[in-house]
Amino acid sequence: MKMKLKKSAKGNSEISTASLPDIIFMLLFFFMVTTTMRDTKLLVKVIPPDATEVQRLEKKSLVEYIYIGPPVNKKYGDETRIQINDQFISGLHEISEWATTIIINRPEDERKFLTTSLKVHKDTKMGIVTDIKQELRKANALKINYSTRKNLANK
């Protein structure tokens, strides 16, 4: 039996492609695991400012996002708007309500790790950002992250 196998192997000089699917599957799994699908459609334009002293946001499941910037669609005008989840909010009070709901729905031990990521367009005025920070304080969502792009050029 063994002899037979050896013989046939010798005669065949082509590279075996039997492991090709396995290799491709490995790559596939790698990309499946590292992929983060964009889950919200941005309604506002956000170009974050540059910074050098940045930290990474580690656990994506513990991060909630607020987007602030001018609407992409011109029919909503040019004025800075706030987007949470998939829609614009109509009043600032919605922020603290939203943040409170998120905190309540989390198990107690996760609550202090919750981070609110502020994705703010760089030309936004601070007034609206300050208002949002005040709303988050009301809801006790105290850990925030000013989203930036890492830029090493001016270091």
């Binding site: 491709i24 910074a51 601070m126």
Partner: protein
């Protein structure tokens, strides 16, 4: 002749996998979220006033046209790093005396460093106008973080022989952070006339 056992051809497996692979390659966004993390102060109770001595305080104002004032002088954003680093410097953390131009120090017990070491009482107070641009605000925050990180780097290098950014020991990280805290205070927003 056992022809009945017909295997499914695995030849197309690679193609199917390729197809899926290409799909994920296209949809993947590899960008990691980065940013400057800050902890907001808890909501203020009615009559809590914290009085800070003048020498322990460094005021930074950013006005609506993005011009910056530190204490009495107008400065450029690039100068902030140096000013803050000098203000919060704590060259010998084992002695309490400081020159009158520098903030006071308070005794503290920090594991790994000692039962009684002295931490600077200096606080950076950052105030901005409603009309300040977010970009400038983040630049200033970035400079503040850079100044404190610089102090931490140097301290860690001197104390433990490893750069702060290279430290992996949780206890040492905590010690450095306690010695040089992120002492940034943001004022309660006040309504100042005009935008």
């Amino acid at each position: 002749m056992s022809k009945k056992i017909t295997e499914i051809s695995a030849g197309s497996m690679a193609d199917i996998a390729f197809l899926l692979l290409i799909f994920f390659l296209v949809t993947t966004t590899m960008d990691v979220d980065v940013g400057i993390t800050r902890i907001l102060p808890p909501p203020l109770l009615d009559s809590t006033k914290i009085i800070v001595e003048r020498r322990n305080l460094m005021n930074i104002w950013i006005n609506k046209s993005d011009r910056i004032q530190v204490n009495e002088n107008e400065v450029q954003v690039e100068d902030i790093r140096q000013l803050v680093a000098e203000f919060l410097a704590n060259d010998d953390f084992r002695i309490e005396e400081t020159p009158p131009s520098m903030p006071e120090k308070k005794p503290k017990a920090i594991p790994l460093l000692g039962q009684q070491v002295y931490v600077s009482k200096g606080i950076i107070s950052l105030k901005n106008d409603r009309g300040t641009s977010y970009e400038m605000y983040v630049r200033v925050q970035n400079e503040l973080a850079a100044a404190i990180n610089k102090l931490r780097e140097d301290f860690s290098e001197k104390q433990f022989g490893i750069r702060y950014s290279q430290l992996s020991d949780e206890a040492k990280l905590k010690a450095v952070q306690k010695q040089f805290p992120m002492a940034i205070s943001e004022a309660e927003p006040a309504i100042i006339g005009g935008n």
